[in-house]
Symmetry: C2
Subunit: 211 residues, 2 copies
DNA sequence: CCTACCGATCGGTAGG
DNA sequence: CCTACCGATCGGTAGG
């Protein structure tokens, strides 16, 4: 086999990172050791160092790999919907399905690592905080769009809506991971529906017929 | 086991565990190494083994120590209120203050360790799952009491109420720990108020959706 | 991407 | 509760 080393190297790297993200969703980004990743991939420890340089750089690369998965499943899926209420609902439903479908073996990668790193200063924590803020910001942004388009009650608070929706998504993830409660996803969907009903209801209900 | 000991031994043990719980809320129960705890307490590694036998037994002892703190701050505080709606509101407010006041340096101990252990079978995970289920069960129990006493709308779902309240408490904890957002506690209180308004309103207007 | 190796630290033990 | 010690594994390096 005469080989094009560059594309192959990139594919190898991506495969390592996808496996690493799975391991990290279970054991954490600290519990993901170079040795365990070497065993899981069949690549020697020094081979992994050749790819990633250091443990911290590996952790940062794993985060980017998981980011691509999350954005592909959630952000892009909702991008097809019209900005505002429709996209907000699409975002939340895609996010629920992302958790529910068990993309990572240990549940939502970012739920796991944000709890792990929230007290440990450094580049890893900074990047995790940046991404999770960005994504909750998407919820807020679409709520603000919906408000601007008159799709929400005038006294709605986009930040508050994002807080509540985000809370339900994470509660479903925890409930499923820790207690194996599959009904958590329906609980989350019910709670989400309640929020949407509340913020879309006009203050005067006279015109509200089923629709 | 060395738990049947003289008062001084028990006091030493309790002091070690309180420090260990603080460390574990930051570094996790895995990141809490015997060596680091030895350095933090000034007791030798083998001295710690004399107290706790093994790392797993230490982890389990730390969990019980953190349980006492949580129950003292939250469960007992709410026990003064009348069963039903008052106690439910007391429980949620005490829980919010427990997180807000920074009892553990790394935020809510159980939020940290439940994310850490949700995928690792064993006694540690089992105990964490048992306790967190128990406490969310308290919320549900008081919601059921409130319903039985006619303090809630007749179509209220205690399990759903507990799900939503619990979600807000954990969202506030994460928001504060990861992003330093102190306003998260007011967001949580606002969201909680909304739930109480919804479930205590006599006319249950929420199920208006057509289909 | 490999073999061979490093000092530091891990959980844990012997014996007092 | 201590000193002294164990084998295994940690992140990382040398040199190819």
């Amino acid at each position: 086999m005469s080989s094009l080393q560059r594309p192959k190297g990139r594919a190898t790297r991506a495969a390592i990172l996808r496996k690493a993200a799975d391991l990290a969703s279970i054991e954490g980004l600290s519990g993901l050791t170079i040795g365990s990743l070497a065993a899981a991939t069949g690549i020697s420890k020094s081979g992994l160092f050749a790819h990633f340089g250091s443990k911290e750089d590996l952790q940062l690369a794993v985060i980017e790999s998981a980011r691509e998965v999350f954005e592909g499943r959630v952000v892009e899926a909702a991008g097809a919907k019209a900005p505002g209420l429709a996209r907000l609902e699409g975002l939340v439903e895609a996010w629920t399905r992302y958790i529910e479908s068990g993309v990572f073996r240990g549940g939502c990668f970012f739920a796991a690592v944000s709890a792990e790193f929230d007290d440990r200063p450094g580049r890893v924590r900074d990047r995790i905080a940046e991404l999770t803020a960005l994504w909750r910001g998407f919820l807020e942004e679409q709520a603000a769009q919906a408000l601007a388009r008159g799709q929400l009650a005038a006294d709605s608070d986009p930040g508050q809506i994002a807080f509540e929706l985000h809370a339900f998504l994470h509660e479903a993830n925890r409930d499923f991971q820790l207690h194996g409660r599959v009904e958590a996803f329906e609980r989350a969907r019910g709670a989400i529906r309640c929020v949407f009903e509340r913020v879309t209801s006009r203050s005067s209900q006279s015109t509200a017929s089923g629709g």
